[in-house]
Symmetry: C2
């Protein structure tokens, strides 16, 4: 019989705490800045937007935070997720490297997003909040929050980036199944949406615009609704650390340790989820481990953006965030990885990158789909296009190991499966996809206005 | 913290044998009959159709059959599947019953079908067969065999029932991902398909027609291609017993025993998979356990068909099978459970039903979708429409338990998730679905010709 392929934790072996990496960062992330007063954002400034539980976590410097029982109940629907040894992929690449992946696609909504959706819906429920708004790019986050809100009896409105809304009817249907109201963005439901449409009626949308719409609707509700976000902010990243905390225990079961940990990068949530717990020993004990964030070539904020205060949304409603950014008005190409089409990174990840504690790489779209198909053939799982970016980087690392004739252990996060993204694969098969390299000029143009914003 | 929700087996706890229920049946299933000679089908008669390994199993009376290592390697991609306590559903129903389900939807192709696909592709590979043909209804079987064939380097042609081909582009794309050639059936590629199209150019197809096409193409290949089938035959049902063998061990871990075991019923494969291992103690020791097969109201061969020799396909290419059948030309309504639109049951299940060792129930389409949505809301998993039939029956049983104020333990098989079937839910949301009760006359008309066939 074959060697063990999957490493699973029983429910009583499951981690019961999220990890807050801020506690271990020597250079703490810079504070959020209020867009009007230009002063540091205080917890009370966020009260119109978020639940109290979430705000407390956003500013927390506690190292570990207990996961509430009701959130663990939801996690138990599918967690722990398997840590899998990718024997098939290793064989296909004929590499001396050992490749592991954490399969977050086993969640009932198909991705890691339910880890934070469960927590955010719970904290809203705990506070008696009856209604939430949010945005979604690829649709994973919207699906996850739809289920979580339905679980806790909360109404949900989802602004879905129009290009994804049109490309992914099944994602919309998942949200409908859990009773969420899904609105293609830009929409005429908000001033932010109307302003964009006036300028460009055919606009295919962006996460930045959708964030503006969701935030505006929550703020304008006069307290009836709050807002929830699927990535970027500290509390979201912390909720995702359940991924890496499990993976640490599972790598122990496998008797192995990763030399490099890889996650695809949109707003940072699945990347932080797998990476931060492994970074702990690097920050605290100086352990030698590489951590790589992988972004699309067409939206290269980590590899080509500037580290700067910028808005989290298109219209400038959010606090100013210290981030690697391409400018909050950056309009990414319509690549088939909606979850990665975001202009900026969160404050923690940006600080870690600035301090050279993590690395970043970008991958062209075609290489991404080639990697996704190689993986589907070798491991039987069709990956989400987002996750295929991490696979592509894992393949690059495995090829280097082969060239160098060196053993190395690679761990990547398979943030989701692609069964609801098959339209993207259809386009790839039909030869309709292309790469979107960006000129230096374009990057300069999209970031040059940032100076004025923080003045 | 909550009670344990999921019961999982580690790879070293996994069963290593399939269970062949024929060994324990007092009344053995009747033999297959050759359509031309009208004599019992011998193994050599099946040689043009199937691999040697599969034929040996079709006739085997061994009680347990070892699972080959290479098949276990594929099983290890996702197995064991979780046995889940449906606390959410129990709460939603306010029932004293304990409800468990076996989640076969965690397979990378989303259903139980990979259990036998892996085995059938392996036996073809072992014999050096380079090419297989098959049919698919809902698309689960075609997807599964596509991956399994790709894994072993075998070419595959899939005849997909036209109504599913049109309703389920994502299933087709999954098959394409694994390099299968997918042909809508009825097609002009075969004489059987052309004959149907001549009579009815708009025919939406049926599994019976698709079987005819796939069988014809294999037989006409002169040995170059063999045929693989996703249900009905003994070897297929045996491969699926890995489901129930795992479930027995998992129920032991849960410290519980089912009073009733439920599976939805198309050709019998997922039903047999969950049920046969639990029937063992009933057959051998007379243990008191109920086993219920659930079919759609619109295709009621178990509850309203006749027990009779009939063809497995529309054109009459297959051996005559002793089956509960609606007639091999029965044209079921276009319900959104393609996997259950088959006119007959296999010889083992039919004999067990005839001997009152199992029960059968039928469920209308609307009740099925209501059950599926209740489950999606309560447990977070959107079920395949096929599986929702089993859920509906589990709900009926749980309601009876409530009415009677009695404890009982219900186990059903969640044969697959519905993420690639969301079109069906869209139709339901839009109020476009209806029930298809059949008149006695229609049933009589569809079965009355059977007498002539076995004369």
């Amino acid at each position: 019989m074959s060697k063990v392929k999957k490493f699973i934790l029983s429910e009583d072996e499951m981690p019961r705490q999220w990890y807050n990496i801020v506690a271990d960062m020597k250079n703490k992330p810079l504070p959020l800045i209020h867009p009007k007063t230009k002063k540091e954002v205080k917890p009370e400034d966020l009260a119109p937007l978020f639940s109290e539980g979430v705000i407390e976590q956003e500013f927390s410097t506690e190292r570990f935070v207990e996961i509430p029982d009701k959130v663990l109940e939801i996690y138990n629907i599918w967690r722990s997720t398997p840590l899998v040894r990718a024997y098939g992929l290793e064989k296909a690449l004929d590499t001396p490297a050992k490749i592991y992946f954490k399969n977050e696609g086993t969640s009932p909504i198909g991705s890691h997003k339910l880890n934070t959706a469960a927590a955010q819906a719970y904290y809203a429920y705990e506070q008696g909040i009856k209604s939430l708004t949010t945005e979604t790019g690829g649709g994973q986050w919207g699906s996850a929050l739809s289920f979580a809100c339905q679980y806790f009896g909360i109404d949900l409105k989802v602004f879905m980036v129009k290009v994804s809304y049109n490309q992914k009817p099944y994602r919309k249907l998942m949200m409908n199944t859990w009773k969420a109201d899904v609105i293609p963005s830009p929409s005429d439901k908000t001033a932010a949406g109307r302003a964009v449409l006036e300028h460009d009626p055919e606009c295919s949308g962006s996460l930045g615009i959708a964030v503006s719409e969701a935030v505006e609707m929550a703020v304008e509700s006069g307290g009836a609704a709050k807002y929830a976000i699927g990535s970027v902010l500290n509390h979201v990243l912390m909720h995702q650390t359940i991924i890496g905390e499990e993976a640490i225990l599972q790598m122990e079961k496998a008797g192995d340790e990763p030399d490099v940990v890889i996650g695809c990068f949109g707003g940072g949530s699945n990347f932080a989820g797998i990476a931060f717990p492994f970074l702990r020993d690097k920050l605290v004990k100086g352990k030698n481990i590489r951590v790589v964030a992988v972004e699309p070539q067409s939206c290269p904020k980590l590899t080509r953006g500037v580290f700067q205060y910028d808005f989290g949304d298109n219209a400038g409603f959010t606090p100013l965030i210290p981030m690697y950014t391409l400018g909050h008005n950056f309009q990414p190409a319509d690549i088939h990885a909606g979850g990665l089409r975001y202009h900026g990174a969160g404050s923690i990840v940006s600080q870690l990158l600035h301090d050279n504690l993590i690395e970043a790489r970008s991958i062209p779209q075609i290489e991404t789909f080639e990697a996704g198909l190689l993986f589907a053939n070798a491991e039987g799982i069709i990956p989400a296009p987002e996750s295929a970016h991490a696979i592509a980087q894992a393949i690059r690392e495995a090829k280097i190991a082969k060239e160098e004739g060196k053993q190395r252990t690679i761990l990547f996060n398979l943030s989701g499966h692609g069964l609801v993204d098959l339209y993207a694969y259809e386009q790839y098969f039909a030869g309709k996809l292309r790469d979107y390299p960006l000129s230096d000029e374009y990057i300069h143009r999209s970031t040059s206005e940032l100076e004025q914003i923080i003045k």
